[in-house]
């Protein structure tokens, strides 16, 4: 049963994992780690919390193995858990910032990497910083639609939002992101 998990399908691995096979679960984790990482790092940035949220996502999935009936794909199911946990983490972060630091985002600008190197979009660090300035609800749609490549309908289903709300958030998120990146560029030139 556990001999060669790499060649097994997701459904077979799920069955084995439900029967207690840790090899099968580890293989599922290997397959979907990238997807969860894209979601969590897109939402939280590359930080220690992102790693913790990623771990918690798989632990929740492990706990839910018996309940998971495959109504959605494993990837979508994991993305949904990851997005919810990341949104919780963003709320915690916001509370922490409210109590311990200023909420004035513009104060960070001098510490930002220089955007003078012609293209603010090529600078990954700058892009991450800009994403971090977006509100959680905007970051969620950007992460799912633009970073992970889900369709707008899938994004709406994962976030349990009407399609119209997703479309308007996407539009506003892109406007905000563009404005933030432009301000970085102008601030450094």
């Amino acid at each position: 049963m556990d001999q060669n998990p790499i060649q097994r399908t997701d459904d077979e691995l799920l069955d084995d994992a439900r029967d207690g096979s840790t090899h099968a679960f580890a293989e599922l984790m290997r397959r979907y780690q990238g997807k969860v990482a894209a979601t969590v790092v897109g939402m939280l940035g590359n930080c220690e919390e992102a790693n913790d949220v990623g771990q918690e996502t798989f632990i929740r999935f492990y706990d839910a193995l018996k309940k998971f009936r495959g109504d959605s794909s494993i990837g979508t199911y994991l993305t949904r858990i990851a997005i919810n946990l990341a949104l919780n983490e963003l709320r915690r972060r916001k509370r922490r910032n409210f109590f311990f630091t200023s909420t004035d985002n513009d104060r960070d600008i001098p510490e930002l990497p220089s955007a003078s190197s012609t293209d603010q979009y090529e600078n990954k660090e700058l892009l991450d910083k800009a994403l971090n300035r977006l509100d959680g609800k905007f970051r969620a749609v950007i992460t799912l639609r633009l970073i992970e490549g889900y369709s707008t309908e899938e994004t709406a289903a994962i976030l349990h939002l009407p399609l119209g709300t997703v479309l308007s958030r996407l539009k506003r998120a892109q406007e905000k992101l563009h404005a933030i990146l432009t301000s970085f560029k102008e601030g450094s030139s």
């Binding site: 580890a26 984790m29 894209a38 790693n51 771990q55 632990i59 992101l177």
Partner: protein, 133 residues
Amino acid sequence: MNSLWYDLLLRSFDSTLTPTEQQQLDHALLESHDIQMARKEILRMRNALSSSAELSFTPGFAGQVMRRIAARQQSAVYRFETVFRPIAVAALLLVALICTYNAARANTLTVDSLLGIQKPTLEQTLGLEATLE
């Protein structure tokens, strides 16, 4: 650039425009250099985002998850939840079944009848006493 054009441009990437809107946008893209530039800018931003996906966690991620799962399985709370809960639920169902059976057999609904407790009659008590004697 007119904000209406910008809205239309942004919408065109994520939803289907009506034929009229699409026609207007196509025409505007041919005519206006500003709109062409804005479209290029949006495309660059979207491409940058899609290629920015971080596809892995720190090394040893899977091992950390498996260790956390193993540690949880050893914990008393986890055992309580996974072992005791199913037994408790089964016992509760059994009690409910017995109570329902008792209620169906009893003439009146009282706590005693639900629990199947019969009050001994005087004769039964005397009979018992006689046996004891």
